[in-house]
Symmetry: C2
Subunit: 306 residues, 2 copies
């Protein structure tokens, strides 16, 4: 990938556009505005953008209109089809793209789609970066997200001052799509920790252990993991509120499995966990947090850890 000419430099006068004002997007765009940048926002449901409009964000009538009037456009959406529509649709970003525009997709989406956007942007003389995050709603609120970038390094370097407003651990991973691939790696590890933690609790419960005392024994050692520290306590309280949505995790795992199949690698652990989460969703828990994996395992063995 050759170094792109004419990457614009960022200043406080840079006009920021933000598309996707869900829980994550509102926090993230809010941090940027708090730094003094002017922002325009667009969202399918205008109502959700209200907190940002009240802080002085301008409302754009379409993704296209927003792109036409901004220098840097961020997107933080739900599913790959949403991303495709917002970029490639009739009133999409690319219809409004011009030389020097920078677009940054922070949605977790398909690496192949990130490459498509990169190539399409290039045709307009625009620059595209994929920059998915980890850290969830809490990381977005506290501006402690990890941000994994893919695309031209010069472009990522240029926008770093803005990314640093939203996150702490910002690492460039390689050409377009590499940010998305890195996020897939993240989700693959989590798939493993989630099944380990839930099966551990099921076993411990059925073995008659006091689960809190068991957790206190195993938490400091080789079983140590974020899911054990943060989600096992929620499961013990039967708190299945999100955190991170089951249906978004299913989407991410499906992307990783599709990519894996295309690359010719077999990931049997991920495939199993994905299927169990499909079961979680089938049981009406698509909007629950990922710790609801417990519910599918309980159904499987016809018991309840309570």
């Amino acid at each position: 990938m050759s170094s792109p000419p004419g990457v614009p430099s960022i200043s406080i006068k840079t006009r920021i556009g933000w598309i996707g004002t869900g829980v994550m997007g509102v926090s993230m765009c809010g941090h940027i505005m708090a730094k003094g940048y002017d922002a325009s926002v667009f969202n399918r449901t205008k109502q959700k953008a209200q907190p940002l409009l009240e802080k002085g964000a301008a409302w754009a009538k379409s993704a296209r209109g927003l792109a036409e009037n901004c220098d840097v456009v961020f997107t933080m959406l739900g599913f790959p089809q949403d991303v495709r529509e917002v970029y490639f649709g009739d009133d999409g970003i690319l219809q409004g793209a011009r030389r020097g525009l920078i677009v940054i997709d922070m949605t977790t989406t398909e690496p192949g789609l990130a490459r498509e956007i990169y190539e399409a942007a290039k045709k307009h003389g625009a620059f595209a970066v994929d920059a998915p995050v980890s850290g969830g709603d809490v990381g977005a609120r506290d501006a402690t997200l990890s941000i994994m970038t893919g695309g031209d390094r010069e472009v990522v370097d240029a926008i770093k001052p803005i990314l640093e407003v939203m996150g702490k651990n910002i690492m460039h991973q390689g050409p377009a799509g590499s940010g998305q691939h890195t996020k897939m790696c993240n989700q693959i590890v989590i798939a493993g920790t989630m099944i380990g933690v839930c099966e551990c609790l099921l076993y411990g419960f059925k073995a008659g252990l006091d689960l809190q005392t068991m957790l206190d024994s195993i938490k400091p050692g080789a079983a140590r993991c974020w899911s054990l520290d943060n989600l096992a306590p929620r499961i013990l309280r039967r708190d299945f509120s999100p955190g991170f949505l089951v249906e978004h995790f299913i989407k991410d795992m499906a992307i990783a499995l599709k990519e894996s199949a295309q690359m010719g690698i077999s990931l049997p652990g991920l495939a199993l966990v994905h299927q169990l989460y499909v079961a979680v969703k089938a049981q009406g828990q698509g909007k629950s947090g990922t710790q609801a994996l417990m519910i599918a395992l309980e159904q499987l063995s016809h018991i309840q850890v309570d």
Copy 2:
């Protein structure tokens, strides 16, 4: 379980017996001797007890002989059949058991076997505790093991001064077998983290990522786990030395699966990981460290992460 009468109190004059002088046992018994306790040792291969004999440990001709001449006997062996032989064999511990003897099995073994030993000891007026550990050879060497105990609380309380010489996080988990059950919970979580970490590396490699940079992105977040911190770097160096042996992990998972089936719970994640480790062993890696799971996943997809 009623409170047992006549639990002996421990003093520096308590005569310690130690059976099983592998890498773990030599370190653990060494710590006890360093505190000033007199120790007698027995091992199938006398050669391996040499470091302790040189420090002044007495050699016992059999487990039975050792039990007859000690107040507290520890066992740290390999497989459940070794434990059964050492306790129930013709020249075994229980043949030498008497009123007030305390036996402590620190091997990771079957919860049902722990209960058998407990009941058999009781018939002699002796006391049995199951006390498996986590923390591996490093934890044994540095006396930082986690110790999970099962049995009568009064007995565990009595021997706590000795356990504290070997470990830091000593927690009583319930009646006989509960220490073993807790260790199974520990291993179930690790089975999940191991497959997550290895599949992540396989995916990242095939996606063309720089694996170290990818790890630096995901390590601080929700993917955080001991295996990612400690074993992923070894895999990147193609260092499959143990740590914790594949064949011991297979044993532990087989125990957990057998117990699960008996309790009527289905653990599909654990079952899959167990089978993959059986493949690792089939590929001649039984004496490698658990990070050799990578090798089975590589074989499966006919690639090598290198």
